[in-house]
């Protein structure tokens, strides 16, 4: 029985890294993990705001940079890390395939890895051209035509794609009937 997925379901699956069906059990677990993540995030916001407030009294600029970096690090590594570990423990991120479909699943992972490599390389290349412009005034066209930058982001993209492929490969579970 195939149920058509809504856009909301697709987003939820993407954020929690669930490749299979988002059934009632998965939804229940996702809600629980989401509630825990929310509690962690709110606690972090309250505590960090209080600390930053105290630091800013004497060191305003330092307080600003601490807040910016901790706001990047805590949600990415802390909260995302928790979500990743929790979904992994419950095997929600497993890609279960029949033994005869294993080769097709690996092929899909290769394609996904290539896609991620192109996406990461291109996005970061364009992003760098803009950040360079803001940081040291280098015109974007100069960054975009620099051989050094092009090679750097091709290699970075390839490495990212390879890592994503390996991660995906470990998630594929062969199921024999």
């Amino acid at each position: 029985m195939k149920v058509k997925e809504t856009f909301g379901t697709k987003i939820l699956k993407h954020f929690y890294g669930i490749p299979g069906v988002l059934d009632e059990h998965a939804r229940q677990e996702v809600s629980r993990i989401g509630s825990n993540a929310y509690l962690m995030l709110v606690s972090y916001l309250l505590i960090s705001t209080l600390i930053i407030l105290l630091i800013s009294i004497r060191h305003l600029e330092n307080a600003f940079w601490i807040l910016v970096f901790s706001n990047l690090i805590v949600p990415i590594y802390g909260i995302n890390g928790y979500v990743l570990v929790a979904t992994n423990r419950l095997h929600l991120d497993d890609k279960e395939v029949r033994a005869q479909n294993y080769a097709d699943a690996v092929k899909k992972s290769v394609k996904r890895g290539i896609g991620m490599a192109v996406y990461f390389g291109t996005t970061m290349f364009l992003f760098t051209s803009i950040t360079n412009w803001f940081i040291d005034g280098t015109r974007p066209i100069r960054t975009l035509t620099s051989i050094h930058e092009i090679v750097k982001w091709i290699l970075a993209g390839a490495l990212f794609g390879l890592l994503m492929f390996i991660y995906d490969l470990f998630r594929i579970k062969k199921f024999r009937e």
Partner: protein, 67 residues
């Protein structure tokens, strides 16, 4: 203990096939069979329909000494 596993095997279905037929993940069927997850009434009905039986047979616990 419910009798989902017993009836699934009678129907010669794998966990994977049953899961596909009722539209859930294989892990969910495994959890139900091992009494580690309480499915919703709708899911129970779907499973019973696929296994060609009823809810009482699948999920109602019958004591052995009851006669």
């Amino acid at each position: 203990m419910n009798r989902v596993r017993e009836y699934r095997k009678k129907q010669k279905l794998s966990q994977f096939s049953l899961a596909e037929k009722v539209g859930v993940a294989r892990q969910t069927i495994n959890l139900i069979e091992n009494d580690k997850y309480n499915p919703s009434l709708n899911l129970c009905i779907s499973i019973a329909k696929v296994l060609g039986t009823d809810l009482n047979t699948l999920f109602w616990e019958v004591e052995d000494n009851e006669s």
